[in-house]
Amino acid sequence: MIVGEQKPLEEIWSMVREHRNVLLLGCNSCVAVCHQGGTKQAGVLASLLRMQAAQEGVDMTLEVDGIERQCEHDFFMHMADVVARADAVLSLACGIGVQFMAEKYGATPVYPALNTTFLGAADQPGFFVEKCQVCGNCILAATAGICPVARCGKRLLNGPCGGVSNGKCEIHKDLDCVWRLIVERLEALGRLDDYEKLFPLKDWSKDRAGGPRKFKVEGQQP
């Protein structure tokens, strides 16, 4: 799931303060699950902005709405009028949604209300942790289902570095050394032999280093 974090109010305010009609558009998918970008949060943000406007003496109309996903054309079907009324859109979607809208509505400025932070999971309710770096070439089969790319401070692929102390990472003292976790799990699975195998050089060509990646569902026409 994509995890995002709402930007500071001052930053958002500075983006929209020049506009008179702003649409706050929530995205009721990933970023809603982490309580940052859903319709409800759009409403709360609108309230805060309204108060900011009032305090600064700015006359501004703020409209709140929300759609299922801001990365699909079809969900915008009923949005045409709403967007047209606004001189700017403040999107509470992840970076994908913001760009998607920016491309879709060329003439209307679209601002991000969120910083898109990472791809992660809810370890506990309300606590999100990064789990994947979308490297495009998954090696989890060999690492007991635990990703050293995303979760090792140094992205090491062949065992821990020398800085591990008490099973913790030397970069982040509160972070478990991912290689310790991998070894423990391999041991539990009875597959410690996998650890002995050396990783060949990882094929980083599928990582984003080569520019934006594309994907087409088989049989789909462009």
């Binding site: 409800k40 709360v44 309204r50 108060m51 009032a54 305090q55 003496g57 703020l62 709140v64």
Partner: protein, 90 residues
Amino acid sequence: MTETASAPDAVGEETVAAAEKKAGPSSWDARILAFACHFCAFAAADLAGIMRLSYSPNVRIIRLPCTGTLDHSYVLRAFERGVDGVFVAG
């Protein structure tokens, strides 16, 4: 869900409020909106009446079935529309 901020009013009000604050609490007429749980705080407000306890009349109470129902938006809306304080009791 469209709302226009009444900017001139708000400004005036802020200034007034600020001026009044400076002048001292006696002349500042704070307006408080309370959200009260049906089972406890609302009951307490009733009890205050039953016991004929007098308190400032500048409080209005909205009853909720439980303060669990208190949505962020209620508080924000109240502030947006100019109440000076929100009191949540439950």
